[in-house]
Subunit: 319 residues, 2 copies
């Protein structure tokens, strides 16, 4: 079958990847309908995690086996060992020996078919389109913030730093949950539509008046310098949500965290069910996040496009 | 009067400092009984905060004016403006224009007398000795952790990194509140007494088995490298309390905060009332933290001793 495969630091389309066989206990096969290219995929190609195998973890597909066979599905990307304290507590996302779809020890979704634990699947309701559902994984990561904050952000003076794909989803999710959201980012000129989601485009860089002005700040710039800006914007005893995974050592002044007693919340993957429910019952906008759609056979050019500066979400369709 | 005064980066005992006059509205005079030398005082001498004036913020004294005149008192060190949102909410510790006793814009306590807002004073019960009460300020900083964690640390697997004065108070306060506390620090050999406070001396450096083993970790090493160790010890979704104020830029890998969804809580000053109550109703040990006692007139040699490696709390007595 067709699959986009990373070996060492070389990623290429293969036409002869063997189809996955339903073998490991509890796993089912899923036919990819649409896959999304994530910045993490680009980092994996640069050597992050030392991953080898089929790339991709953002998908909407059709289950081929199990109780959901024939239905449209999305799925959680962490595969727990199912045999530890974390997994017992229902939190396979932090299982110490977990595999991660297309990231760590498990082939991913940029292929005609792939394997996933059946319990990770969530059915996609008829009212949610494929091009919405393919955003379920990053949207779940945005929903995770709401869960970590106890379920609501009502009336919170909120700043989102970063207007990349994740930042734009986070800003919308926070607004849907009642926050008053200001957005800082480099592409605000092109983002008139985000105001329809009740997100205020504040400025390209953090203005002086924003110092200590927010009780909730989300750092989603994807760059190491974002944290210092975020700390400046957070009021004493406020909360700063850290979303950017920036590998390596970076110079940072931590004293403001202590002096202003700021709570820094590390935040990663979320629950797919929350994301699907949000797509079903709210008007989270995903269409403006899409850069282009290509067929799976065009994966090479799709990845080339995804690596260009300013590219938004590149989708791969399995026809 | 006698006072230990910092001018520029030169600190010296003065015999001719004018006695403070009760003038600013709401302030009262306090006669110092005992003052403690804090590491912050040493940092102030090195230029931190650009402070000039009488040093010192740890004290037990006798109120000379106001409702508590003639009584033994300790007191909160932050002087709020009493005219902003923060102060209205009772949190002068985070007032943006606050003064801080002996640290920022207000003369401190290493003198025969000093001024403090009357509302900052807390009376010391008869059952609490002077040499216990002089630890109220750092003890309040330890109590702040309990308040930030919602009032209890019962059954939490806890690691305290750092066996300096603050680390030893924090370890005891957490144990008193029900935590199972392990302590890592460089002077554990001299600390048999801490086991009487139900604190387990784990090791001088963080052992391999401590990786991700604690759901609560307190970083009180006073050094920039402490955070990386603390992150290693914190389990996924655990809480890391950051107590060390280390000025300047430091190299740090922040990815573990995000990947393991760790909550980092910056933690600074606490409420004096909590500290005094703890001294009254529990057996927090302060005596082993004391290095030596000297008279106020010996402030020069006291500061010299306090700057020596391994020195514990040096106390200055106003006879």
């Amino acid at each position: 079958m067709l699959a986009y495969v990373l070996e060492g630091r070389h990623a290429a389309l293969s036409a002869h990847r063997p189809r996955p066989v339903m073998d490991p206990a509890g796993f089912v096969r899923v036919r990819t309908r649409i896959a999304g290219i994530c910045n993490t995929d680009l980092e994996l190609i640069r050597g992050y995690m030392g991953f080898s195998g089929v790339l991709g973890h953002e998908f909407v597909g059709e289950a081929l086996d199990g109780a959901l066979a024939g239905r449209r599905v999305v799925g959680g990307i962490n595969f727990g060992c199912d045999n530890c304290e974390r997994c017992d507590a229902g939190d396979s996302r932090h299982c110490a020996t977990r595999k991660v779809l297309g990231i760590l020890g498990a082939d991913g979704v940029i292929a005609e078919e792939f394997l996933i634990p059946e319990r990770n699947l969530v059915e996609v309701p008829d009212t949610v389109t494929d091009v919405q559902a393919v955003f379920a994984e990053p949207l779940a990561a945005a929903c995770e913030i709401i869960e970590q904050l106890g379920g609501t952000t009502r009336h919170r003076r909120t700043l989102v730093l970063g207007d990349g794909k994740l930042g734009l989803l986070i800003a919308q999710v926070l607004a849907v949950h009642g926050a008053e959201v200001d957005l800082v980012g480099h592409h605000l000129d092109e983002l008139e539509w985000i105001e329809d989601a009740r997100v205020n485009r504040l400025a390209r860089t953090l203005p002086e008046k924003a110092t200590a002005a927010y009780d909730l700040v989300v750092e989603a710039t994807g760059s190491a310098s974002g944290l210092a800006e975020a700390l400046r914007a957070t009021e004493p005893r406020g909360t700063l949500v850290l979303k950017s995974t920036v590998a390596g050592l970076h110079e940072i002044d931590l004293a403001p965290i202590v002096i202003n007693e700021i709570t820094v919340l590390g935040s990663r993957c979320g629950r797919m069910k929350s994301a699907v429910e949000l797509l079903e019952r709210t008007s989270i906008m995903t269409e403006p996040l899409i850069d282009s759609r290509r067929e799976l056979s065009e994966a090479e050019s799709a990845f080339a496009r995804a690596q260009e500066k300013g590219a938004r979400k590149v989708l791969l369709v399995n026809p």
